[in-house]
């Protein structure tokens, strides 16, 4: 997926989020560190343009909620978490790749420690299959079939110098 395809996909996702949330009233975007944050910020810009609304948004780092903290080493780097009020809101969680579902499980747990959203939507740019938990996305940019050894790299210009999605086969 090149930069133009990525832009089109994000535009569609932005529209779908507003559709699913029945407008922008009470909508909050939450990006999962790190690339989910960049994607959430872009979707926020797109929604802002099309709806003329300023959407509250935040960043979520799920490191401290990982289910493998007992075993991984060295310790994963903890990123910034900063969230607006989530109580009673429609929270759209944005991440780059949905794989095992463990990140999303952690994000759901963490969100509920911050408040009680009315509803949580999951929006991912790439769904690569391979779930280990019963979790599915509400809004998907693109579905790909990737094996366990394959890598899906989402590149964003803010961090990687260019926009692209690349599937690297094992």
């Amino acid at each position: 997926m090149d930069d133009r395809a990525l832009a089109r996909t994000l535009a569609r996702m932005a529209t779908e989020i507003v559709e699913r949330a029945n407008g922008t009233e009470g909508l909050v975007l939450v990006g999962i560190q790190r690339r989910g944050v960049e994607l959430a910020s872009r979707i926020r810009g797109l929604v802002g343009q099309s709806e003329g609304a300023t959407i509250p948004w935040g960043k979520l780092d799920i490191t401290l909620y990982r289910d493998d903290l007992q075993t991984v080493g060295p310790r994963p780097v903890v990123g910034e978490t900063s969230l607006p009020d989530l109580d009673g809101k429609t929270v759209a969680i944005v991440d780059d790749v949905l794989y095992t579902g463990r990140t999303v499980r952690a994000a759901l747990d963490e969100c509920s420690d911050f408040g009680r959203p009315r509803r949580i939507l999951l929006c991912v740019l790439i769904d690569r299959g391979g779930r280990e938990l019963p979790i599915q996305a509400d809004i998907v940019g693109k579905k790909v079939t990737a094996g366990p050894g394959d890598r899906v790299d989402v590149l964003v210009s803010e961090l990687d110098g260019r926009d692209a999605v690349e599937l690297v086969r094992a």
Binding site: R35, D61, T63, L64, Y65, D68, L69, Q70, T71, V72, G73, P74, R75, P76, V77, V78, G79, E80, T81, S82, D95, D96, V97, Y99, T100, R102, T103, D109, E110, D113, F114, G115, I126, R128, R151, V152, D153, V154
Partner: protein, 318 residues
């Protein structure tokens, strides 16, 4: 970031610049956890931590306990007066008995220099030094450094004067090791009887008078004057100390710039520091306490990990 901390935190002297930086950087996101409505994350769920305090402490013990609880660890406080230690049990026996109950970490404060290292070499649990004799108090040094970094945005090139009883102070020692490793300049100021004889070998500037410290420094870290020192002949009187070395508003008024004021507590108001200064606009004494919890959370988080040579599974996107 590839630095790891190893098994124990005994002091800042054995740590590298990268390891100290890792702790300070890791403390940043932990500050936010304490601002949440639900001040708890599950990172240390199921870990058991014993706070083994052989010396009185309020601030440090409570700070560690908050840090542990906010990471979801289970904690037990062992106060020495009420334990078998007072029946003559040795330090190692006490710790081995605790370990037999399957604990994961020990936070120890002890009157003997080297107690934390001694323990760390003899038990499998992680050991964190919460102050050992006149040796080190690493988490205090780290929280002082974090507070300085918050205010100045850097430590490199910063001039920090540590004032008071340097000779008996583990806080001074941890600050000197930590700050010099991160490129700050450290000055020490205090009565000649309370400066270690070879203090210049630590790479610090000796500032004989408090006025010199105030002229020289960007920040003053004012140590608590331990009142028992007076009884043992190191000082003539508290009033005398205040007159010669007290950090007062009048003295600070002559500083070339506003100085940041730190104090590890508990304060002797009117002795080493005047109330005007302690409660003044440039005092960061309470932010130090807030940062203490974040730094301790960072240390607990970094030490409690799996074995550092285990592979890091997963990768991009997950």
């Amino acid at each position: 970031m590839s630095a790891t901390l190893g098994k124990d935190l005994v002091g800042l002297e054995p740590l590298s610049r990268e390891q100290i930086q890792l702790i300070l950087d890791t403390a940043e996101p932990f500050k936010e956890v304490s601002e949440r409505a639900i001040k708890k994350v599950p990172a240390l769920r199921g870990k058991t931590i014993v706070n083994l305090f052989f010396e009185a402490s309020t601030r440090t013990r409570i700070s560690f306990e908050f840090a542990e609880k906010r990471l979801s660890a289970d904690t037990v406080n062992v106060a020495v007066a009420a334990s078998s230690v007072s029946k003559g049990e040795t330090l190692v026996d006490t710790a081995r008995n605790l370990e037999a109950m399957r604990i994961d970490m020990v936070v120890i404060r002890h009157g003997a220099s080297g107690a934390a290292q001694f323990l760390g070499q003899r038990i499998r649990s992680n050991v964190i030094n919460a102050g050992d004799g006149k040796h080190e108090h690493p988490t205090q040094g780290l929280l002082d450094m974090l507070t300085l970094r918050d205010r100045f945005g850097r430590l490199e090139g910063l001039k920090v004067a540590i004032c008071g009883d340097i000779l008996h102070s583990r806080v001074a020692r941890s600050n000197i090791w930590g700050l010099t490793k991160l490129g700050a300049q450290v000055g020490v100021c205090g009565p000649a009887t309370l400066l270690p004889r070879n203090v210049h070998e630590l790479g610090v500037t000796i500032l004989p008078r408090i006025e010199d410290a105030i002229q020289w420094a960007d920040a003053l870290n004012v140590l608590r004057l331990q009142l028992e020192r007076m009884e043992s002949g190191f000082l003539p009187s508290l009033r005398e100390y205040n007159r010669v070395f007290g950090v007062t508003k009048e003295r600070l008024a002559r500083a070339p710039k506003d100085l940041l004021i730190l104090h590890p507590g508990p304060m002797n108001r009117g002795v080493e520091i005047d109330s005007d200064v302690a409660d003044g606009p440039h005092s960061v004494i309470l932010p130090q306490v807030t940062n203490g919890v974040a730094v301790r959370m960072a240390v607990l988080y970094l030490l409690a990990g799996g074995s550092p040579d285990w592979a890091n599974p997963g990768g991009g996107g997950e």
